[in-house]
Amino acid sequence: MKAQERQQLAARWHAAWPDALAAWGSHLRLSSPELIRVTDRPQGVRSFAWFNLRDVRVSIALDLIKQMGLSGLPTEILAHEVGHHVLSPGDLGTAARVLIRMRTGLVDRDDLAPVMANLWSDLLINDRLQRRAGLRMDEVWRQIGPPRREDTVMRLVMRTDELLWSLPTGSLAGPDVPDRPVEREAQLLARAVRAYADDPVGGAAGFGALVRQLVPDPEEMPMLTLSRVVCHQQEDGGGIPTGLASDPSLAAPALHPSIDPRVVPSVPALPGSDEPGADQGSGPVTNERPHGLEPAAYAAVLRQLGLESDPVRAAIAWYAENAAPHLVPFPSTVSPAHPDPLLAGLTDWDVGEDLGAIDWPGSLVRSPVPIPGVTLQRRDYLSDAGTEPDRVPVDLDLYLDSSGSIPDPQRQRSPLALAGAIMALSALRAGARVQATTWAGPNEVAGTDGFTENADEVLAAVVAYFGGSTSFPLEHLMATHLGTGTQDRPRERSATGRRCHIAVVSDSGVNSMFLRNRETTSEAADCLVAARGGGSLILNLGQSSRKQYAEMAGDYDVYTVSTWDDLIPFARDFAARVWDLENAENRR
């Protein structure tokens, strides 16, 4: 495109910007759009328009606009892009939620979720603009041209738009394809678009399910047209929105719009949905995921959004978010209340001290003639410092079992890792330091390098996984508390002399802590004495075995839980008992 032509086009489009904003509201303010060459597009973007939620910016490739014949529709296209910042998705948290729900609806084709999420947003935005703002969104589709015969998804969307905007059949969708009809699904989608007009997250799973069922054969979903036409969401890293990992509604099963009472009011609610506690023997448990997303799915979503590509860091974020409700409250800093100063005797007032400090009655009693430096007196004060007990929190030395029966924390929700996260993060909050170690078989040990106050390091150790056999790292324990070095990690005792609590979370494999070559050893007991902060063994065992382990453990406190899930309330209470210093004093 020649430079002058480009300039004129850009000028016309800039002039249409205020109208585009006005379509959404008279008080909307957004920075001007970026109108650039197609060659300057960011990598991965194939369409003529894209948006970035973090920078709140609209970008258009002018060359492609001209090529597709859309130069005469600046208000429509710009208003559509603004709609992505205003209506759907609006902000990064909503975009993440829409993506998660879309993945749920698309089942096995979750690679298509980003494009389908944008297509869903486009449906909602176009309907709003066509009907309420009076823009000619149908003209945009006409200029782009009808979809190809094989492109069932685009034909569905076009027919839906025809129904929504009362257009003649085929004016947007092209001629009907008899062996791949989309009429019923388009009627349903039209109702869904109206039902979820203000709620992109609510309707996303239904749209995904509808699309997935319409095109059963994955080969039939040509992506070329779609990615050219659907505006792209372009994110480049940054913070992770909160609330995604612990929201149970995000993992709810997808509801096809034909059985969704919000879309088709005459549909009765599903039989199991009103009584979650009822017998679910006839089918799969509908609340099989009461805890929300699994860590593996969470990591996949963050990767698709372009926010975080390292699965370990995603797992850390997952466990930190899920542990958060169970942590002890932050201790308030204790400062002694300033008591009123106590009055002491009179002393000489020297020249140069504060004139206001002179105590006149005292001075005149001393001598009726005030002579500075000789007879003038000032009052002396004493302060009585309050006595506060020294509240130093106990450090934590945490050992988490990672043998074969434990699920991999980075893939599935692992109550053991979550309990470890709760205890470690509570200790950190109280101001203690933590050493976390994940252990399995011999030489399968991963952990923080000594005691640390860095939550990320601690959590990275908590989510590590081996899945091997069970052999407690006794050398590591001894090296930490008794000061003897090992070959790999020579270490000295924690230098501050603070007390340290040893906590081991395991199951029956903990007997490797007290047995060496089938003989009992006392090293664990020695370490307990050296740590001076107490020790706990938190074991997943039946009640019947408790006594036997209690005898073996000696001075370690033994707590048993019957299932791994019971660990979480246990960990919360445990953390409150050991590290919630204020309330602990009140309880005492």
Binding site: R184, Q187, V264, G283, P284
Partner: protein, 207 residues
């Protein structure tokens, strides 16, 4: 006797064509302006319809029983569909259809009312014919079609297309079909998941 046959255009496809009628917007406006009296339970819908026929239908030569043509509606005039008859009566009196006074025989009008109430009222309650814009459009189009008219300014093809697109009975059938398919698929998936869970339980080894 079908009143509109002498106006039928010759349309291919074997269907007697429709004549141009009032503008759709006018008819929809009349619907929206339905007087609230039609909802009054004290109103005798059958008598109202008879009076309407006397006012707007083509006069029968030689007078005749004024209530005869309205009789087929006796059943429908009792139950919850009473108000629907009132709405149609008001519509026939309205300004949009005034130029067509005297076009239709009373039997034709009664038959139209029967079919409207029989098909549409089963899916869309009469309150929606007045209140909801989509239902208003559907009711107006269906009424015109049953009377042998099409909205003014629209071609036969466009009018038919819109009527089909809006048709509530067709929509309900399509949605029921889809819902049935969904339930069937959900059942199959449940059975499959159940089977897998049982297999997995049988295979678990305890460490």
């Amino acid at each position: 006797m079908r009143a509109a046959t002498h106006l039928a255009s010759s349309e291919p496809g074997g269907r007697t064509g429709t004549a141009p009628g009032p503008a759709l917007a006018d008819l929809m406006r009349d619907l929206a302006a339905t007087p609230p009296d039609v909802w009054d339970p004290g109103v005798d819908a059958l008598a109202l319809w008879s009076d309407t026929l006397a006012d707007v239908a083509r006069e029968r030569p030689g007078g005749g029983d004024a209530h005869g043509p309205a009789e087929p509606l006796a059943q429908l005039a009792q139950g919850p569909t009473r108000a629907a008859i009132g709405i149609l009566a008001a519509l026939l009196h309205g300004p949009a259809l005034r130029p067509w006074t005297g076009w239709w025989a009373p039997e034709r009008l009664t038959e139209t009312a029967q079919r409207m109430v029989g098909t549409l009222a089963a899916y869309v309650p009469p309150t929606q014919w007045v209140a909801d814009s989509r239902s208003r459009e559907e009711a107006a189009r269906l009424f015109l079609d049953l009377l042998g008219l099409r909205p003014g300014g629209e071609s036969e093809a466009v009018a038919t297309d819109r009527l089909t697109a809006l048709s509530s009975p067709a929509l309900a059938a399509a949605l029921a079909e889809l819902a049935q398919e969904q339930r069937r698929a959900a059942e199959l998936a449940a059975q499959l998941a159940d089977k897998r869970a049982r297999e997995a339980a049988a295979r678990t080894t305890y460490v």
